[in-house]
Each structure stands twice: as C-alpha cells, then as structure tokens.
C-alpha cells in the first residue's frame, strides 16, 4: 500500500503577515444569547452585523462588476427585525446599533455612486446589463445618492429625528413600523417626521440646491 501523506508536508503556514481573520459568529446565535439576557452579546453582535453588511455591500459591488445577481440572503435583515422586536431592551444600545448600520450603508451608497460615475466616464468594463426595467432605476439611483446624503446631513442639523427616520428609510430600507420601533416613537410620529422631511428634500431636489 502506498498510502502516503497527509503528513508533515502539510506544514503550510501563512505566506504573508498572519492577518487576523475573524470567523463570524452566527448572527442568530448571538441574537439568541442577547434575548436570553447576555448583554455582552449585543456588543459582539454589532460588529458582526456591521461586517455582514459590509460583506453584502461588497458582494453587491461584485455583482455589479460581474453582472451576476446577488446571491446573499437576508441575514442582516433578519438581524434588524429581531432587534426591532426586542422591546424590553434599552433604547440606547439599539439606537446605537442602527446608527452604525445606517452609517455603513451610507458609506456603501456613496462608494457605489462613485464607482458608477467612474464607470460612466469610460472606466473599462461595460455598464452592467440588468434587466431592461432595472436599468433606468439604477441610473437614477446613483445620480441622486450624493444629493441625498448631503441633504440628509443638512437636515440632521435642523431636525435630527426626522433625519434619522429618513436615513433608516433610505439607507437601510426599513418600513415605518420598523423605524418607529427603532427610534422608540409612535408610527404616526415617524410618518409626520418623514412627510415633512421628504417634502423638504423633494423641494430642495427640484430646485437643485445642495
């Protein structure tokens, strides 16, 4: 029998700096722990969801480049919803968590818009060919992202709560009920905040003021 190896030839170590690569703990498991009263789990959960969001965003960008459709699931969304449903938990940490999430998404959107702009200037690869119906929507999106980001930053100086509600709405894609839970206010309040904020935004956009 010539059953050789695996043996010491497998002593293959890192080529380069041993950069620390974290293995993500499953989000659901952390949520479970948090629900069971382990407060530290939220602290651990935040970066995981943050990473997951980053990963999703990266996957999305790759999809754009390679013209593949996103093959990721709804882990982050699930995490959001579960967190939203945590009524007993203190408002502070939850709000913090969502602030972080919406910041990640904001960064992603800006990056996305810039990448698309670069692409349109003739940066090599052809513009993605999504379905014909999707095309105008995508084009419209990246034109407006930067405007939206600047405007919401400005709005935050006038009315922080309304700005937060709109951030969660636009950057994270949450529904009114979800936003209400996260911000700890009634749905009606969110609706009012959003109505004023959105009207202000639209007016600003139509007049081309940044």
């Amino acid at each position: 029998m010539l059953l050789l190896l695996p043996n010491l030839a497998f002593e293959t170590l890192m080529d380069q700096n041993p950069s620390q690569i974290k293995i993500d703990a499953p989000i659901t498991q952390l949520l479970q722990q948090w629900r069971q009263g382990d407060d530290a789990a939220l602290a651990r959960l935040t970066p995981v969801v943050y990473d997951e969001l980053n990963r999703l965003a990266a996957a999305f960008m790759r999809k754009e480049r390679r013209n593949h459709t996103l093959r990721t699931g709804d882990l982050v969304h699930e995490a959001f919803l579960r967190l939203v449903n945590e009524r007993d938990r203190d408002f502070e940490s939850r709000a913090h968590f969502f602030a972080l999430s919406s910041k990640v998404m904001k960064d992603f959107l800006i990056q996305y818009a810039r990448a698309r702009k670069a692409q349109k200037r003739g940066g090599g690869e052809p513009v993605l060919t999504l379905g014909p119906a999707d095309q105008p929507m995508q084009d419209a999106a990246d034109e407006r992202i930067e405007f939206l980001v600047h405007s919401l930053d400005a709005l935050a100086k006038l009315d922080q709560r309304a700005a937060r509600a709109l951030e969660l709405h636009y950057y994270v894609g949450m529904s009114v009920a979800e936003i209400a839970e996260v911000l700890g206010v009634a749905s009606a309040t969110v609706k009012r905040d959003m109505a004023s904020g959105r009207s202000w935004l639209k007016t600003r956009y139509r007049e081309g003021r940044v």
Binding site: D15, S19, A195, K202
Partner: protein, 823 residues
Amino acid sequence: MSPEEWRLLRTVFEEGRTLDEKARAALIQDRLADRPELHTELQNWWASEQEEDPFAPVRGLAREVTRGEREEPPPGDFHNYERLEKIGRGGMGVVYKARYKTLDAAVALKVLPLGNCTPRSIERFTDEQEALARIDHPNVARVYDCGVTPEGQPYYTMAFITGGTITDWCDRRQQNLAQRLILVRQICDGLAQAHGKGIIHRDVNPNNVLVAESETGAQARLIDFGVARFRDSPGRTQTGAVLGTPGYMAPEQLAGEQGAVDVRTDVYGVGALLYHLCAGRPPEPAPLTGSSGSSESVFRPVLPPQEALDALGGGAENAARSRGMTRAELRERLAGEVGWVISKALEPEPRNRYQDCRALMRDLDNLSAGRPVEAAPTGGFYRIGKLARYHRRALAAAGTVLLLLLLVIALISAALIRTEKAEAEALAALDQVRALKDFNQSVFSEVDPGRAGRLVTGFELLERAEARAEQIYAGQPELEAGVCMALGVSWRGLGLMRRADRQFARAHQLYCGLLGETADETLEALTQKSYTSYMLGNYRDSEAGYRFCNRAYKALYGPDSKQVLTTGSGLALALAELNRRDEAVVLLRQAADGLAAAGAEPARVHAARYNLTRLLIESGRLDEAGELQALQEAEARRTGKPDTPRVLRIRHLRGYLAEKQREWDEAARIYADVLADRDRVLGRFHPDTLLTRNNLAVVQNVRNQPQRALDLLREVLDDPARPEGASALLVLRLRHNLGDTLLRLQQTAEAETVLEDVLARRRNLLGHNNPGTLRTEWTLAEVWQQAGDQAKARARFEDILNRAHESLGEKHPDTLMYERALQ
C-alpha cells in the same frame, strides 16, 4: 434655513396637509403673514406630496443590499424562456414546464422560489445543479442551462420528460416484470455513476424517476437531486432534519443518522422502487411479532412483497395482469428470486444490503438472464437447479435423467475450473504489476530530491518515461497504470504537482476500468490524486476524492482501519481549506486517537497529532492547541533528547502558537532557537529547517525588522550550495517572502523581479488560481502600487478578488482578506 424656520414650516405644513388649496391659502395668511419669504417654500412642500419620490431608487438599492432581494417573483418570462405551467415541486424549488423560445422546445425549468432564497437553500439548490452537471449518464436528467433569473433566483433547465413517473408509466403501458426490471437496472446504472462521483441521491422514489419515451424505447431518468448530499456536509441539512419520502427512506435515514447515510441508502431506495413496481405498492414495515423488538425502532424489516400483493386484495389480479401474468405466477416470483433481490436491497441494516448499486445491478442482470442470484438463501440445491434451468435447452436435448445429472455436474465443474484459472491468471498478472511498480519506484525514488537531497539528474529521464509510457504500455493498462503511479510519485517529489496530478488521474482512470472503483489499487490512485488536488488548491476535488476513498475503505476494512483514518485526515485538511474546520478537527482527532491502535507507524500517528494541533491553532482554538502541544512536547522529551527531529517539530509548533497569539517576540525567540537546532541537526536545506527560517522571517517582518528578515532569507536563497530543485514549493514560499520583505524595504525594482519569477513558477507548479499563486500576484500588485502605478495595481487587485471568489469560495480566509484589503 434656520432651525426656527424649519419648526415653523413643519408645524404649518402638517396642519395644511389635509386641507384644500383655498384653506391652505387661508392658513398661510393666518400663520405666516409676517414671514412672506416662507410662503413659496411651504407651497412647494405641499405640492411635492403629489410628486414621486426621486429617492425611491436609492431606497430600492439599499433594500436590495440588506435584504438580498427578497421579493416574490413576478410571474413571467425571462431570458429565452417562456414559463407555461407549474408541473411540480421538487425537494427544493418549483418546476415549470417552459418553452425555450429560440428552438421552440419544451424544457423543465426548476426555480428556487424567491421567498426561499436564503443562503442555505441557495447553496443547496446550486449543489443540486452542480451534482447533476457532474453526472453524464443517459439515465440521469441532464442540465441544459443554469443561471439566475432577473429576479435573482437560481434556476436550471432539464429535458422535459413526457412519460410521467415510472410507476404510472409502467402500469399505463402494462409493462411486464422483465421490462420493469430493465428500467430499475437503468436507474442503478445512473446511480452507480453518481456514487462514483461522491453524490448520494437520498430520495429515490417513483416521483423522482420519470420515463422518457423515444424511438429507441423507454428510458428511466432520475431527476431531483434536491436532497442529494455530495459534499457529505452534515451542516447542510439542519441537524435532525429528515429529508426524503416515507416508505422509500432507509432506516438509517429515518433514524436521522446523518453520518450513516451512504451509497447503501440509495440501494434501499432502489429496492423500495423495485418493490413498488413489482408488488404494486410501496413497502411498509412488517407487523410486529413478539420477538421483533421495540415498535419504536426504525430498523424493522418490511412486509415481504408477496404479502404486500396479498394485501392488495382484489387489486392483486389487476396488478398481475398488468405485469403479464396470473396472480399465482406473480406471487410465486415475489416469493422467490425477485422477492429475494428486493429483500436484500431492503435489509434494515445497511451492512446486510447490496453494498452498492453495481452489486444490485449484477443481480438484476442475473434475474433477467435466468442465472442464480446472489441474494439467494444459502444452499446448494438452488444453484444447481438454477443452472440446470439456465441450460435447459441443452439438457432437454440430452433426454435422460442420468445424462441430465451428468451434464449438470460437468457444467458446474467446468465453470468452476474456468473461474479458478481466470482468477489465478489475474493474480499472477497483478503480482507482475506490483513487482514492476516497486521496481519503477525504487529507480525513480533516487531522483526524488526529498530523499536524495542532491542535484536532480533524473528529470529528463522522467520526462522521457512519461512521454513513452503510453506507447510502451499500450494494450497493457495494468502496466501503464503502475508506471503512472510511479511517475506521479516522482513528479510530486520534485514539487511538480500538476504533472503528478495528471499521472495519478490517469492511473485512477485505468484502474477503474480494470479493477472497478473500489479495488485497493484504484483507491490508492485516487488517494494520491486527492493529495495532489489538495496541493494544487483544488480542494473540492480533493475533498470528493478523499471522501470516496474514505467511504470505500470503511466498507472494505472497517471504520477503525488505518486506511480510513489516513484518508480521513487527508479529507480533514481539504475541509480545513474549505473553511469547514470543525469537521476537519473531528476527523483529525479520530485519526490522532485511532491510528496507533490501527497499527500505523508512529511517524503517521505523530503527523496526525501534529496536523490536529496546527489546525486547532489555525481555527483560533489556541487553548486546546496549547494543551495538545504541551502534551506532545512533554511526551516527546521524555522519550528523547530535546533536539530530535520530532521534538523540534513540536517546538516549532510552539512558535507557531505564539505567532497566532500575536506574541511576536516570543514567537521570534522560539523560532530562532528551533532554527539553530534544526540547522545543526537537519542541515540548513532540510525542508523543516527552511520552514522555520521562513516563519522566523515572517515574524521579523511583523516585528518591523525587515532587514533581519531579509538577512535570514538571503542567507539560504543566495547560498550557492543550495541544491537545485529540492523542496521547490518551500523555496518558492521563502522567495515570495523575500519579495514581500523587499517591498517593505521599498526596494521596489528587485521586489518586482523576484515576485514575477515566483509568480511564473507558482503558476507553473500549482496553477493560476492556487491560493499561494494568488498571494504572490497580490503582493506583486502591491509592488506596482508602491511604484505609483495605481490603476494597474487596482485592476489586478480586483481581478484577484474575483478569481479568489470563484476558485477559493466566498468564505476562504484569503478571499476575505482580499475583500477587506480592497475596501
């Protein structure tokens, strides 16, 4: 706008939202008479409520990212397909009959519903697609096309099969028993190929076996590998989740014993299908008798098929008629050979069943040809009687009872003699092959620098041998296979993994044809092939190969045998690369614990423990690794001096552990000690010594001591006494790190030269998408970046990330590292 203005506007805006234009004008007059500058703004706000939200697309984009496009599918057509009607639901996903417009052809289109597009189900769906694509067999549905719908659902298409399920079709077409057996045999054949590729169907039942009608006749076609398991991943199906179809599921499957599911599970499925086709209903457990144990047990025998026929009552006449015989005739067949074959396939304990589909197939052939079946109850009368019947015509001509008996005896002994002779010949031939192989290996091993440690002079000789092997051994596949094995070992010794891989693949192919898939020689070739696959970074192939061998050895030598444990540890290393470290740790632990008892040589036992420790370190389970390391070191030191090769290896591990604990100073100290000892004991060019030197250099770089790293690396790389060609892969690792160090020292030009050369060699030795090759490429791009060529570097970074994605997978640590670096 000031916050005060905002508040004012907001209040009035809300009050006026539900009012008509006239009332709004009044409101403005009432509330903002003294602020005319705000009037237009407010009017705009109200007016804008009727307008579309220009930012809706941004929100859509964000939702798409965070929710992975979780929308229900709009029914409709896509690409070139026109969906016609839903025809069923498989293990995963919905099946439509669709029209491929260009060709106006009907296809079966299977789509994963959007609501079900979770990572796990997408993975399983694409697994199925991949499983099917890997099988090329007339009796397994062929994938025409696969991809993703515009809505983001994975889909694939297969031939649209008109005949319906096998049971319906056979009844409709009044197929007799022989015709039914032929269809079942076809399914066995298809499954045998799937099994050969490491795919287990796990859900063989009438709904998954369709009949395609064509001019050439009916063909059974196996579909729906939706619950197939081909990477044998226990994590893939949720723990305890029972997938399959009741009545057709093997007891081990019902018991939820994930690990117990193997090819014999499919044998059971085929047996159940055969049962249904013959007896007219799916198998069900036999009623309990006093002695047959607990009613809880799933390991219960099924009702004998003739009794199932009886249970059909009046339907039994119909069943028999549609099978072209009377009820009594059918019952007799079911109580006899046909029933024996069915019962053997449906044995509750896997070890009592046919051990694979080929064995079942052989017995189906025996049934069709009228030869005695393997499944026969023991006893000589059956065989003699059967042979007599088989040769009935000759015997009838003989005429007398005496002559008949004589003939029977003559025939049987002739057959026996023939068999014995053939077997002796085969054995002699095999010995010849073994001798030749040993000879070749002994010759070639002299040019294996791993052993000789000297200049390679045999390289050309090997190349010539390789070029000629095919001609020289044409028509003598057993000899050619032996030579391929020897060449493979030699190429591997030279670090030429791709060449080695080709030779092992050829040997495996030849042995498969000669001796079957599960012969020792075949498995040995596949084991070797799996190792080279591993070295080449083809971890999926490596995994599948090792797994197949592992399973086959389990059947041959039992679960605790040396062979099983050794292939298990090979499998573990492949799994570790596929980011399935937990499974890998389990396997390596089994090997580390069991190899000594299985009689393996101590070196192999130590290797398993060593690899286990290394894996624990790499999994971040540093405490466990530390304990294991300390244990080994204490044990090794008790039995020897502190500088034996084995102790040094364990000490090296301690350095590695410190490295992973980011205790860089400690790691540097240990590595330096080990390096000094290894230099002295093993020599400076021994692979182990080179490795410690390599790691020390890496740690020096991390400690921001690139000059020290540079000295360490140059010391060996520039040494004229270094044997050419020896430890090629390891030397490339050192040279890669030399390039990295030069980059740190901003010696850009030299770094580029070194890395370009390493890249070319790694590509040649390991292939383009090997993780090591990709790393060199990455570092080279970093050099470009340092040299100021941002665009070129950036493009390459992205290209590498894409390729890592495709060849290493999304979760490979390197892929993640690149992803992070690119952000």
